[in-house]
Symmetry: D2
Subunit: 349 residues, 4 copies
Amino acid sequence: MSGNTFGTTLRITTFGESHGDALGVVIDGLESGFSIDMDHLFRQMQRRRPGGNPLGTKRQEPDAIEIVSGIFQGKTTGTPIAIIIRNTNQRSGDYDDISKLYRPGHADHTWQQKFGIRDWRGGGRSSGRETAARLAAGAIAMQVLSQKGIDIQAYAIQIGTVVAEARDYSIIGTNRVSAPDAAAAIQMEELIEKVREDNDSVGGIIECRITGLPAGLGEPVFDKVEALLGHAILSIGATKGIEFGDGFSVASRLGSENNDQMDSNGFLSNHAGGMNGGITNGDTLLFRTAVKPTASIGRPQKTIDIGGNEQTIVVEGRHDPCICVRIIPVVEAMAAITLLSLWYEQYGR
Amino acid sequence: MSGNTFGTTLRITTFGESHGDALGVVIDGLESGFSIDMDHLFRQMQRRRPGGNPLGTKRQEPDAIEIVSGIFQGKTTGTPIAIIIRNTNQRSGDYDDISKLYRPGHADHTWQQKFGIRDWRGGGRSSGRETAARLAAGAIAMQVLSQKGIDIQAYAIQIGTVVAEARDYSIIGTNRVSAPDAAAAIQMEELIEKVREDNDSVGGIIECRITGLPAGLGEPVFDKVEALLGHAILSIGATKGIEFGDGFSVASRLGSENNDQMDSNGFLSNHAGGMNGGITNGDTLLFRTAVKPTASIGRPQKTIDIGGNEQTIVVEGRHDPCICVRIIPVVEAMAAITLLSLWYEQYGR
Amino acid sequence: MSGNTFGTTLRITTFGESHGDALGVVIDGLESGFSIDMDHLFRQMQRRRPGGNPLGTKRQEPDAIEIVSGIFQGKTTGTPIAIIIRNTNQRSGDYDDISKLYRPGHADHTWQQKFGIRDWRGGGRSSGRETAARLAAGAIAMQVLSQKGIDIQAYAIQIGTVVAEARDYSIIGTNRVSAPDAAAAIQMEELIEKVREDNDSVGGIIECRITGLPAGLGEPVFDKVEALLGHAILSIGATKGIEFGDGFSVASRLGSENNDQMDSNGFLSNHAGGMNGGITNGDTLLFRTAVKPTASIGRPQKTIDIGGNEQTIVVEGRHDPCICVRIIPVVEAMAAITLLSLWYEQYGR
Amino acid sequence: MSGNTFGTTLRITTFGESHGDALGVVIDGLESGFSIDMDHLFRQMQRRRPGGNPLGTKRQEPDAIEIVSGIFQGKTTGTPIAIIIRNTNQRSGDYDDISKLYRPGHADHTWQQKFGIRDWRGGGRSSGRETAARLAAGAIAMQVLSQKGIDIQAYAIQIGTVVAEARDYSIIGTNRVSAPDAAAAIQMEELIEKVREDNDSVGGIIECRITGLPAGLGEPVFDKVEALLGHAILSIGATKGIEFGDGFSVASRLGSENNDQMDSNGFLSNHAGGMNGGITNGDTLLFRTAVKPTASIGRPQKTIDIGGNEQTIVVEGRHDPCICVRIIPVVEAMAAITLLSLWYEQYGR
């Protein structure tokens, strides 16, 4: 029951439920003397927040954040940075009907089994809203990494059956699905609108690309860079897999095709995704994660209630037809926290 | 530099290099009063060891294991169990030529960058041989889980382009690639022999199936069951991805297709792979991991030496054309350690 | 820089500076279904807070606490409990003069050396005010332990040269120094008033007595019960030592005097203080901790400024002449967190 | 049950029982490229080992150590260093009589309560012999610290009622009790011989002095330098307390006496023992620990057996009349591990 802390030399501890008083995060181990860019922090929060994107849920949550410790005269002091995000606009009433029903695809059933009690308002702590706290911490980690020349960018490469073929990173911010392919972005948006009308939802794939990393990050044998990124990304609700570099496609490859050979200018290819033996190799780090369709759908589904009786449920409320889009900045955030922790481990603060 | 411990309530710490004096593991947190089945332990070791499988490397390493602590009168005492595996039959001479060359696809380059020094004999600690220690610990964890009614079975579902369509779990032990499909197994074996003749190698996909789990294992929000399994499996060298349940294919699914509905008999499907909200749901836990082709191949490849000069390398020595097959028991081992740790966390020892 | 989390199965993470916006604590790993007694929690906070005791500082800080997560319908849910304590009545102006001076006996100099920056308002995070967060967490841990039959009581046995000879636990709450000796308590109070008039301060010794513990708590070899209690208590600012049972006096004892012999009714003595081999033995656990005189005194002292120049300093402001008294509930709190964590480790939640 | 790992950036994991096959330690996180001085390592082992000192037990245990990993071409590689110490000369027969009796002052009773099973041969893992593994790890940490200009020296300042008044550090190695006072050393030796003849034992106090530390080590608020040293030292069996600087005597001091004032040459006194606010201040770090009389004595004592029946026990075998002397190098070892871990935390490796 104590899995709410992540990281080693840099550690975040999050708290809060979807419809409780507040969410928040304590960041411990950040270097002292760093000036946080509050504008960047707010922009990152905006990307995830409900209502921040017309394709997403219609809920409006301002996600106003308050930093209550760890900063003095505009700089980090090396003490814990605590960030509080008040919950507002909670319409718990939306959830009253389902307080005794297990929503398919949700954590209702398993949390009840594990804890014997659950805060059923909006999913409580199992809600995606929990990631707002990670996002705040991750935005700060991204800023620190950026100052070290490391850039992290995540984007959608698949929504439902629509696949982005192009990789035009400059346009990611210009479409509402954060896709690097203008034509695909339009189709993706259309698909999301369609499934919304159908009271259904759809999944997707997020790719994340990290440039500027030095060779040498990662702590074998158990805390390899891909193991820690795997831990980080798979701890985001709704993710169902992660792969690095060429990922699952390496299964059908020959070693002579898959090895990244080198010459004096560096690697001749990057099938590995920027790592060897669990340590970054200085090339671009690349991974992808699969996101399932939003579990909350406005269609009748079979389920049971808390007493084990069979029921039919229609999940009312304002839900995202494609949660994948809002997870994109969370992927960046978790990657940033993981890599900054590894950086401190290797180079000190 | 301190990433050689894995787990929380159950913790393993491994040590040792491929061609050093010994490998080993310290298991801390195992329940007291448990009788270890040494026969089962030896059989698991045999599945991974070089020369244990005619398809693998021709090296012969007996992997004789010695338990030097934590057992009294045949039972665990609750104190650390240390296991030592002596290295024998090391032909370091095989590696002399390449002490100053970075083998493509290997950790040579990154470990040199990170540590400024590396034991180049057989890859040192970055060698797959390191997993022998995990395997010993995992075999014991499997025995404890088995007594609780939990069974873990991993098997190959793809080798190169050959895909196992059938799932006949009873035949896994009867073919040399541990495949659940008799016809595919023959093709897989043929493919492996062919790439060996070509001085090449080939990748594969391992599936792991865990039955008998109770609902309630997993520690959200960061130590979700898939996050910890991701950490565990991706810490095995050569793995390039992991997915749970329907995995990456959920990207193209609708919520109405992907949600696992329930009736009073339980779940009507298992797209999720036995977990919801990061906690086991009582259904079969299912995941897959991609394994890259063995990096060591007997073909000329471009690389650089430790001084940055361009070189051509042919990796001599006795190598596995398909490391995937030998990783299968390691996947079981790491899954067992992860789940037993979560079990202790939830239910105590 | 990441030492702000304490505990294993039960973990607290604290944050906040003396004169920042807020202090707080995140409690992770507490059992679900527990009803927190808010009255008890407030009473414990009251014991430590400035102005809560006429012998202490004249500062008034209400220490109003807000629980923002982890509680649903009056019960713990097994998710993190975050508690926020807003700072009010901060007169940072009191500290302006000394922003560039290192106060003798304080952390000003060392924090500046370590972090290169420090929040000098009231000592920032090195202030004793930080313990308010520990106290809130500890009060909850005490309540849970109490339900298991375990009672923790700390009290002053020495203030300056005044030593409590009696051990009348029933009167501890009736005097302002929390002493178990009525006559000594009067002398202690008089001494404190005298040193206050002298613009000086005085130290003391706190004893802590824990009854109702089962045999079996403690995790050798490194996490012995005394090792963890030592870690916990010595992490409280101003403590300079800890001893268990007969403590330092065992140095001059013979083994035949010091061993606690047993008969069928239990131990015939308790020189060990309730533990053997790092594990509780079922007898009363007893330890003492030494608390130094408050470092802030209104007398001229030699020091240097941030530039290394020699200066004379008189620490103005409202300070406790005997910080020992206010540390008493903090000792209880840290002991409670330590023992509840060990309880969960041994028996599960 | 998983308390066998200590440290954070530098971590040691120990294993082994007194009369099992072997003891050992895995050191994880040590810097790469360091050349271990094997002569120094053996000398440190010699100081603790039974039979190494004519005043100690008559048992002869060579404590031959074997480093099986983490070293290549004479240098550390940054991978775990595993050290194995084989047990020899075990006369388990000495313990047969007491396999069902709880020896007073020993861990027999508590380990049985905790684990439900115990290796009663020589105390199993609760034996002081366990510290041989810590000593090996600590000797290496001392060497690394020494290269950074940090020197650690522990010595006896009290044995029974004999107190060392002088502090002549140069003579510590010249007497058999490692005392810094030649006259007291003679009396201490005589006292130990006398209690041996009486089949009794005696306690003592060890002081530890660390010079060359920079200001800045320690990780408030929970991992203060005294908190971590407290954890480390109190995890050594038989220690009953620890104090820093002036320790318990500060209780009767005034703030004006106790504060360490500064001028431009540094501190004018060192009552604090080299730390402020949980961080080293650059002055000499000083602490003392109390060691109880050896629990094993050849005199009749009351106890119970495993069935709860009253018995009389005389502990036969070859025991140290004053375990304090052999603990001295263990105190140095644990201090070294703690401080090197804090060094890495602050400055990187």
